[in-house]
Amino acid sequence: MHIGDTPQEAAFRAEARAWLEAHASLRDPAAPAQEMDLATHVGHCRTWQATLAEHGWAGITWPAEFGGRGGSAIQSAIFGEEQARFDVATGAFAVGIGMVGPTLIAHGTPDQQERFLGPMLRGDHIWCQLFSEPGAGSDLASLGTRAERTDGGWIVNGQKVWTSLGQFADWGILLARTDPTVPKHAGITYFCLDIASSGIEIRPLTQITGVAHFNEVFLTDVFIPDENVIGSIGDGWSVARTTLLSERSFIGSGTGQWGVDDLIETARRLKRSDDPVVRQGLAAAVCRARTLDYLGLRLRTAMSQGRMPGPEMYVMKLAYAKHWAATADTAMAILGMSASLGDFSPTAASHHIEGDDRWPSMFLTQYAIRLGGGTDEVQRNIIGEQALGLPREPAADRGVPWKELALR
């Protein structure tokens, strides 16, 4: 057990920091977070990803043979911690680098790896995830988007939803049903979809804060060639598990700050940090944040040692969601009635409380963290099974062919 950097890690951190200082400018911690419209944000992401790739900092945990740095999860976290201090944008590559890449490395053919991994690393291709459907949320495996055989490939029809940044994506990973006559998990195939294909309509969904981060995606007779099937036909669920596990171990692999410094700064600026009741809230936020640190370190230790993390992965996600909800709650109590004022969209020209609209905005979107990547309830059920060894709840649909379920 060793909690600080080892000498090797300290050297890596110094190298990363030196490179970052040479290629990016520091974020001004006193200034409010730089908000921008999504298109601008995505543009910045592309540019920065290209810079990372050019200098060998893209895909830190990817094996070198696929263009990555061949580093450990801990190195990746160290780079992330250092990078967080700089004024650079990375979010648009979270799905590609964090989820699609590991999936293709595990399940793709050499040709697929060759075609997709390079452009992803270099920032040329932004990827989106086409998994959820209006009728298939927590019960993702009940999805109904159909892919039917045609000459040299598949014709896809259906509707997807909650597609992050779909309106800016070049490629998508798509789950579609290729065999409705078998039980729900067995008839799904995993595809890579060129978003430029004809028959795709993308409609942004406006959220409470006025942002349209998510999209609905309508697929009408969309053709996907055979070479874009990942894994075997009908084996999409097991390929998707790699993607989803990458997502879950990714959620909460944050920077170690977890908003706590900002919260304390808000309390100080509003002269509330000496209030004993407020202080309880600040200290509780510190407790939660430090816990996220160690939970994260434990996860990264497992990954760096080449182990697949166990149910502790799900703790991270739940603790993360709870932390943000409680932190936003504490901040709202500090802001008082001012929190009810202001325009919470990131492109708003005026902010009522300079730099502090992020808290109401966080409060209003906290529940999204509890839903994305699996609801709190689903995660707890998994913990019950995997960590506590509790038998599964009886499932009403086990073994039933999907097409019979669809008729219910």
Binding site: D139, Q207, R272, M332, G336, S338, F344, L364, L371
Partner: protein
């Protein structure tokens, strides 16, 4: 002792629900959000049904009812998310009727009663300050008082004909003045609010006549401020009860209809138990807000009762709407689906009422003094 509504009260509650449920729909709400933030037609419908004049004296066309009847209309308002200035208008008008010199404001109150006049009060203060502490200064002039200062987030200020404003005198005591909008030195800067209803920051450098002072300038005026504050808070707690109830009704339908894993969501205990907790909280909000309103209506000391109701409305109300939002899953994030409005209203009301910890601190102060 009897916690049941009287027959008259039940008639009022049913009428309010009937009118608001009949008037409001998602298209009207969207139109209001895109436009001015409120719905003058629904306001007219309420006025025509004598629900705006309900708590005004019969001499100005009202029905002489009180805080508990207002609470029932407010519950219906929250349940149907009606964007109308019921609470600021009626509470301010009731204060004018109660504290202004008799007969001096009959025209204004008659306008309120027929729905043509909106009124409001400037009670909020930024940060965690004491809501009873005025942020405006008053100095005597030949015919009245000069008011200087500012107040944030006055609901429906731009729509109102007059605003009740507590102000502090040079000797530390206070007054409550009825400031006419549209007169010189009364500045309004629109503010965006979480639930899209109109509000404005108010800046004052103006004069009011002695006739427009509610009650008497001096220490008694603190009682007028407290009266405005307690009646406003109690009525907002009632709106929050309706919001929680409406959110929960929509959620019950959703979890019954939506199937996952081959059964409705409501067949999963994780869902049922959370919905049941939200219902329990809603009932706690209902009994405490009705108690606070009843005590105000009966003219009894309601300081503790208002704080108890406000704690539930803030802490409990936000928990209920957050649970409802969560139980809707992804669909709740799409503003084309209506449940998010309950969330926005619940957060807005919870925030404007003040942090839950502030209500507990106030109540703790009252306990210490007892």
């Amino acid at each position: 002792m009897n916690f049941d509504l009287t027959e008259d009260q039940q008639v009022i509650a049913d009428l309010a629900q009937q009118i608001l449920a009949g008037s409001m729909d998602v298209d009207r709400l969207k139109a209001a959000e895109r436009g001015s933030g409120w719905d003058p037609e629904v306001w007219s419908a309420l006025a025509e049904a004598n629900l705006v004049s309900l708590c005004l004296p019969e001499t100005v066309g009202g029905s002489g009812m009180g805080a508990i009847e207002l609470a029932l209309v407010a519950e219906a308002l929250g349940r149907n998310l009606a964007p109308v200035p019921l609470v600021p208008t009626v509470v301010t008008a009731m204060a004018v009727a109660e504290f202004a010199e008799s007969g001096t404001h009959d025209e204004l109150l008659a306008g309120v009663a027929d729905g043509s006049v909106v009124l409001t009060s400037a009670l909020a203060s930024a940060g965690a300050n004491d809501p009873l502490l005025p942020g405006v200064r008053a100095t005597p002039t030949a015919n009245g008082w000069r008011l200087e200062g500012s107040k944030p987030a006055v609901p429906y200020a731009a729509e109102a004909a007059a605003i009740a404003v507590p102000a502090q005198l040079p000797n530390g005591s206070s007054l409550v003045a009825l400031v006419r909008t549209g007169t010189d030195g009364v500045g309004l800067a629109p503010e965006k609010t979480t639930n899209h209803q109109p509000a404005a920051g108010l800046t004052l450098d103006t004069e009011v006549s002695t006739a427009d002072v509610l009650g008497t300038a001096g220490d008694e005026a603190a009682e007028v401020t407290r009266w405005l504050y307690e009646h406003t808070v109690a009525a907002m707690c009632s709106i929050q009860v309706g919001v929680a109830e409406g959110a929960l009704a929509m959620t019950s339908s959703h979890v019954t209809d939506r199937q996952q894993f081959g059964r409705p969501l409501s067949a999963f205990q994780a869902v049922t138990q959370r919905a049941a907790d939200a219902w329990i909280t809603t009932e706690a909000m209902r009994v405490t807000s009705r108690n606070a309103a009843w005590r105000l209506g009966a003219g009894l000391d309601a300081r503790r009762d208002v704080a108890v109701a406000a704690w539930w409305a803030t802490d409990g109300g936000q928990k209920v709407v957050t649970a409802c939002q969560h139980l809707h899953g992804g669909i709740g994030a799409d503003i084309d689906y209506p449940v998010h409005r309950y969330f926005l209203w619940g957060v807005q009301n919870g925030t404007v009422l003040g942090a839950a910890s502030a209500h507990l601190a106030r109540l703790g102060g009252l306990l210490a003094r007892s």
